[in-house]
Every structure is written in structure tokens, then in C-alpha cells.
Amino acid sequence: MKRRKIKKAFIYILLTLAASVMVFPILFTLSNSLMSGAEIADRYAKTVTPGNWYDPSFSGIHFARIGLIPDFATVRQYVNMLFLRPDILRYFWNSVMITVPVVLGQCIISAPAAYAFEQAHWKYKEALFFVYAVIMLMPLQVVMVPNYIMANWLNILDSYLAIILPGIFSPFGVFLIRQQLRSFPKEYYDAARMDGAEHGSYFLVVVIPAIKPTLAALSILTFVEYWNMVDQAVVFIRTEWKEPMSVFLSTLMNQETSMLFVASVLYMLPALFLFLLGEKSMAHGIQLSGLKA
């Protein structure tokens, strides 16, 4: 008995250690957002300045002094961002403008397609589904080449459509929902048919409510994917003020560190909020996409 308890305690300690490593960068960003501009300059300036000379340094190099607890907590930076640099909010809005259409579009387009895959009797159905799966597994850089060529042809480069449209038609949604539908009983359809319902009404009235958790999982996974997106933004968007926040944070990091932390926190919030709401759905979705085809 005692041995098992020690084993459990050991596992607990290891897990806590792992958890703190995982969560440390997030806590770091959160707590640093409560630091004043002066403190941030003091901690993270790269050279010795009159402001930070008292900190140990080495021949002109000022070492970063990271910390989880601010010397002096203040919401000054938040105020600064809202009033002095409201243009940062523009980038936030850019991200929203890209992510929300993709999430909505994915759900609307993928669900009927997955239903069709499950219900249809067609010789080449599985071959086509295999094509969907392969496209889904390709790295972004590879998938972006066809997207780029088509965007070039349609003349929508440097606009959000170049990112939104391929995103809406991404095969991931179809794959995920179809995996869920595989275990959906076919008898319901026969029963509905006997009552006179056809594919359309059956789909809307029976299937959609039944796969709501999967739709939630798809929404969260797609949201996280496009909220964090960097690759497509770098390639398709060339104008600086159109950049989504994910890329702009990098500019802030190099130029205006004091704004970086607050902007990061603001940018984290929707992702965090949705995640806390739907963590179970998201975990379910990840595991579902892993069920072998």
C-alpha cells in the first residue's frame, strides 16, 4: 500500500513539474503585462542605461532580468495601449476578420460534405476521401502553392480572401465530421425514410443536432489554427497595416517591448476563453481525428 502511495506521489510531482514548465511562459506574459514601462525597460534593455546601471552587468551588456512578480504592479500599459496606441487594436481586428469567416465557413461547408461521404454509394468515394486526407496532412508550405497560384489568378493576393477561401474549403472539417459520422447509426436514416423524410430534412433535423459536439470541436480547432496563423499571413499579405496580430506581435517584440506584453495578453484572451469553454470538445476532436480511417 505504502509503495503505491509513494509511486503516486512521485507521479504527481513529475506531472506538476511538467505542468509548471508548460504554463510558465503564459504566466510570464500575464504578469509582465502588469509592469510599468520603466520596469520593462529596466529588465529587458539590452544595454546598460542610466535607468538600469545598478543591475549586475558585464562590460556594457545588461542581462535580462525575467521575473514572475512585478516590482510594481500597474495597469498603466493597458491604459497606454487603449489611449496612446489604439492602432494595435486594428491588428486584433484583422485577426478576427480572418478567423471568424473561416470557422463559420468550415462548419457550413464541411458538415454536408461529410454527410454525403457517409451516405453515398459510389465506387470512387473512398478514393476521393483519401485525397481529402492526404491534402489535410500536407505541410502548409506545400498546400499554399496551389492556393497562391489560384489567388494570383483570381487577383485576390494581398487581401484576406486569399487566406479565408482556402481555409473554408480545407479538407480537415470534412475529415473530422466524417470520422464522427462513421459511428452514427444507419437505422435512424431508415426510420426517418419510413416517415417520409429525405436526405435534406433528415440531415437538418437529426444529424446536425447529434454532431453538435463535433462541430464545436471543429470550430475550436479551426479557430486556434487561424488565430495563430503565421505562414499564410507572411505569404499572402504584403501591406503592413493588414497584418493579423499573430505576425504583428513579432514586430512589437523588436520595436516596442512595453506594448508587447499587453498586446500578447489581449491576443491570448479569445483563444484562452474559447479553450476553457470547450476544452472537452477540443480534446474529443483531436482524438477523433486520430481514429484510423
Partner: protein, 294 residues
């Protein structure tokens, strides 16, 4: 469409309505993914987007002799070889740990998923502070009497990036392993315990075998996900990072900036080919392994 014509011969089977269900997704897929992909084959055969002289396989030859491409290829393979095993081991341990009935399991799994959900840009500054020339690691070295290391320029930068990847993606694979572990029949584990098998023996003879499909899946998803590491590397080091972490994604990304379509499409075809082969190989290997065990 073949589907529609076939269905008309069976009027009692209203399958032809299903076409409308599939049509939006399929047409979008064709328009943005498949058709341009086939079209891009044409670009691989010309030497220049403007003059469009036929060049045959010259682009492929040039790419394979391009030192940048070869370096990117080597780094990518090294990155995968380092990341994937480490990630799989860490995520397996996490999943196995969470399988024991300890309190706070839900909170732990939530925390392990957090790095995946939080935008990269929000948290990479910490890594920058740790590893830059004026960073925490260098101060630690200095305090212990060693010389400073220019982390982002040395070959150690690969390890930083590997660590970043494992930090971000361990939770994802942990979920897959967790699901896989849950599918092992309880009876076998109980039987092993009754027969007096130790932890390692149980693992070798029961867990590992039933976990092999999941392991293959985790392997595949890990390799695919390594390509996403471009995000963090780009945000931290820019478009032209140190030669030790210059990877295929950077090679292709820079081709986008210079609008070199022939080179770009060549590289994408090569990558597509390699990855499709790899997916096939993994599926075949997994099938063979499961046949061998059952």
C-alpha cells in the same frame, strides 16, 4: 458528373441529391487545391515566369543541386529526427501519468494543452529573453565562470527550437496516446498484474502491442506537425535564420517573397512526393506490424 448519371438509372435511390451536399466542399477543394496543384506542374517545366521557355526537368535538377535546398533538407530531417522521438516519449509519459487515478487529472490535461492553444507570438518573448546574448542562460553561464554563448548563432539553436516544439506539441500527442491507452482491454492489464509482471514487462508484452496503431498515428502526426514549427522560428528569428535552423519551410517561404514560381512549384512537388511516400510507408508498416502481432 458520373454520380448523377449513375443515380438516374436507379430512380428509387435518391442518391443524386447527395451531390448537392458534397458539391460546395468538392468544388472549393478543386478550385483552390487540386486544380492549381495540377496546373503548377506546368510551372515546374518552365525556366521563368515571364519568358516561359520549356525547360523540362531542369528545375528539378537545379533544385537538387542548390546548396540552400540541400541545407534546408538536411536541417529539416535533423529537426524531425530530434523532435519526433523526444516528443513521443514526453507525451507518452504524460499520458501514462495521467492514466493513473490521481486528483486533478482534468486540470493537468488542460494545462498540458495550453501551449497548443496560446498564440505563439504571445509567449516566445520568454524564449528570446532566455537565449539571447544578454539573456538569462548567458548570465547563468557567466556567474559560473564560463564564457558567453551566442545562442542564436551557434549550433545549439537547433536544441532551442526542438525544445520549443516539444513544449508546444506534447499536449497534442498526449491526447492521442491517452485515447490509445484507453483502448487497451482492461483484462490483459489485470491478467498481467495477477501473473506478477513488473511495470516494464507489462509494457513490453501488453501495452506496447496494443498501442502500436496509436504509436504510428502519433508518429505520423508528429512529423506533419514539425512543419508547423515555422511559426515560432519565423517569429523569433525572422525569414532568414541562422544556417543551423534554415529549413525547407524557410526555403519555400523565401521563394514566395521573390515570386519564383518555377522553383516554388518544383520544391512543392518534391515535398508532396516525399510526404505521400512517407504516409504510404507508415501505413504499410503499421499494417504489417498489426498482422504480425495478431
Amino acid at each position: 458528373m458520373v454520380n448523377k448519371i449513375k443515380a438516374k438509372k436507379k430512380p428509387h435511390n435518391k442518391d443524386h441529391r447527395l451531390v448537392w451536399f458534397l458539391l460546395p466542399s468538392l468544388s472549393g477543394l478543386l478550385l483552390f487545391y487540386l486544380i492549381p496543384f495540377v496546373m503548377s506542374l506546368g510551372y515546374t517545366m518552365v525556366d521563368n515566369t515571364t519568358s516561359q521557355n520549356f525547360a523540362g526537368f531542369q528545375n528539378f535538377m537545379d533544385t537538387f543541386h542548390n546548396p540552400l535546398f540541400l541545407r534546408a533538407l538536411g536541417n529539416t530531417l535533423l529537426f524531425i529526427a530530434l523532435c519526433v522521438p523526444l516528443n513521443m516519449i514526453v507525451s507518452f509519459l504524460l499520458a501514462a501519468g495521467l492514466k493513473k487515478k490521481i486528483r486533478g487529472r482534468g486540470i493537468f490535461s488542460l494545462i498540458f494543452l495550453l501551449p497548443l492553444v496560446i498564440p505563439s507570438g504571445s509567449v516566445i518573448y520568454l524564449w528570446d529573453c532566455l537565449f539571447r546574448l544578454e539573456g538569462v542562460m548567458n548570465r547563468f553561464l557567466l556567474d559560473n565562470g564560463k564564457t558567453l554563448v551566442n545562442w542564436s548563432e551557434s549550433s545549439a539553436v537547433m536544441f532551442i527550437v526542438v525544445l520549443l516544439f516539444v513544449w508546444k506539441n506534447a499536449g497534442y500527442n498526449m491526447l492521442l496516446f491517452w485515447a490509445g491507452l484507453g483502448m487497451i482491454p482492461e483484462e490483459y492489464l489485470d491478467c498481467a498484474k495477477v501473473e506478477g509482471a513488473g511495470a516494464w514487462q507489462t509494457f513490453r508484452h501488453v501495452t506496447f502491442i496494443y498501442l502500436s496503431p496509436t504509436t504510428f498515428l502519433v508518429l505520423l502526426m508528429s512529423i506533419i506537425n514539425t512543419f508547423k514549427s515555422f511559426r515560432e522560428i519565423y517569429l523569433l528569428f525572422g525569414a532568414n535564420p541562422n544556417k543551423h535552423i534554415y529549413m525547407l519551410q524557410h526555403y519555400m517561404n523565401n521563394l514566395y517573397q521573390s515570386l519564383n514560381l518555377p522553383r516554388l512549384t518544383t520544391a512543392s512537388y518534391i515535398l508532396t512526393f516525399v510526404i505521400t511516400i512517407m504516409i504510404f510507408a507508415l501505413f504499410m508498416a503499421q499494417k504489417k506490424l498489426s498482422d504480425h502481432f495478431s
